[in-house]
Symmetry: C2
């Protein structure tokens, strides 16, 4: 773990912070050298291929300063693990680039590292290295996650073929509703539903177990972060196909139905809300039975929601088979 | 290349920015999928081990907003390549996590990507993936660099043994002097020397060619970023040894001598200034001849500057063999 210099000393003992809070997270990895080196060493088993991804979370954009530090840590790690899951990879470890403003004191760092420690156990990953920097700006966390797949077995965005079916794991729209609840409070909603939906927004559940089972089954896959339709459209573009999603088939949680009812408006909102971190994928029709078995074995629902056709673009189809018009497909990036 | 969402649209077409400026940088890598996937795939040759490192550069801390974007890009990449060099690794590729404030417009991104393109050619590395995010804070760049070494051949910080000699590549103190010139102007210094010293601060030269040759030769190595004495002390700590550096042997450039003269004060300043990005390493005395040959073949000066002893800590020794007292050893981190 290296560390970057600042002309303005802010907090005593950055090396001590690393030694106290982050080195223990790297202890199980011989190639991390207790974070006391410039780089981490990692052996990739023969026949395996490395899968690597990076995502940044920024205070005020992806989380709020007052959010529990454990949860910020978990979210930063999980959005990356979700990328690995969608590529059918087994996670190995991660590098942490942490930019700390002055307000992030030692107790904050302690809680943040505790959040990482819990998720390391939960997902069998190890801190391999990183960089901590003082910043005059918002707190920022970039995590680079590394995983492996058997060489050549990884699933990409470009493999969808006309005739394939479209599937999605879990339920869609919960996280988007959770964000709305955080913003608008919605006190009329029962506390149980509020808590469940907000939790889906705050703490994604990377579908690692399911993801690994999709090797050799899915023709294309990704995790839903921008919104179901927006993300499926990435598959459509990369594969040169058209994707039609049946709005009535999109899996909604009972909590979401409690909040919004079950109607086309609610389904359209769910399909364009984002932050779901479910796996959306395409697969040949002959894989239906395998998927039923995988869903049963992993305990993660898999729902058939549409089909891959010749053409381009992604459409949401309503009850009468008509294309629904969408005000937006998902998050608008800068 | 994934992208993170912001509620405040700032700049049209982030996907377009990626497609236009970053996808071409990833084009040579089949595992990067033109940045149109969630993760990059990388095969590590049998018998090789992966080396991975991350460093963050932040506007206002590590560079200034008005610095040329090409130079910011190059520096962000090179500080990481320097870490790989010190581990004797051959660089392979990198992931870029870029946090863009509103002021960083398309021309800025274009110039930034041009800087990366030039260094990709220079150092034979390829963009493998990344993440771009809008930020309300300062511009920030986290680069994760990946390289390989023959399995088991990597050099770490912990291998120094009493009796080993201490070496450093290139010259020391130039970058620190360059920073002083930028801050204090120093108009009395001839323009050629000013330009050369400022360039050493702004654009480190990762010692990749030399680094690869140190496998099997160096017993411990790192790149000098915090300051020669501070960094050698990391080796001393990790190896459980004492390191004594002879101030009179520290290699100074003619430009630095022109600025500061050649005296103990100037040498002490050089040894504690940082940002050199030279390789400091230890090696058994019997490797002296090999190192002479390697210096000649790589065209990079290698200077013997001290010795490894029993004990702990790192000291700078003056003309009379007396320990010099240091006001500070190197950069003070937060």
């Amino acid at each position: 773990m290296t560390n970057s210099s600042s002309d303005a000393p802010r907090r005593p003992g950055e090396f001590e912070l690393i030694a106290k809070y982050f080195a223990p997270l790297a202890a199980p990895s011989p190639g991390a050298f207790g974070l006391a080196d410039d780089a981490a060493f990692l052996r990739v088993a023969q026949g395996d291929e490395l899968v690597v991804t990076v995502d940044t979370l920024i205070e005020g954009v992806h989380f709020l300063r007052d959010d529990p530090p454990e949860m910020i840590a978990a979210k930063a790690l999980r959005v990356n693990l979700s990328d690995l899951a969608a590529k059918t990879a087994a996670p190995v470890g991660y590098l942490l680039a942490l930019s700390l403003p002055q307000w992030a004191d030692e107790p904050w760092v302690a809680r943040f590292s505790r959040g990482l420690a819990e998720d390391q156990k939960r997902y069998s990953v190890i801190l391999l290295g990183g960089d901590t920097t003082a910043t005059p700006g918002p707190l920022a966390i970039s995590i680079t996650a590394l995983g492996t797949v058997p060489a050549g077995a990884g699933v990409h965005r470009s493999g969808a073929t006309p005739g394939d079916l479209v599937f999605v794991s879990g339920t869609i729209g919960d996280a988007g509703a959770g964000l709305t609840i955080l913003r608008e409070s919605q006190p009329e909603l029962p506390k149980g539903a509020r808590t469940a939906l907000v939790a889906r927004y705050r703490l994604p559940e990377p579908r690692l177990g399911l993801g690994r089972r999709l090797a050799g089954i899915a023709s294309a896959a990704l995790d839903v972060s921008d919104g179901l339709i927006a993300d499926l459209n990435h598959i459509a573009e990369a594969s040169g196909v058209r994707i039609a999603v049946d709005a009535l088939l999109i899996p909604l949680s009972s909590h979401l139905v409690e909040l919004r009812g079950d109607n086309i408006g609610a389904r359209t909102a769910a399909a364009t809300a984002g932050d779901d971190y479910e796996i959306a994928f395409t697969a040949p029709a002959k894989k239906r039975d395998s998927l039923t078995r995988i869903a049963a074995e992993t305990g993660v629902a898999i729902t058939e929601i549409g089909r891959v056709e010749r053409g381009g673009g992604t459409v949401l189809v309503g009850m009468d088979g008509q294309e629904l018009s969408l005000a937006h497909r998902g998050y608008v990036h800068f």
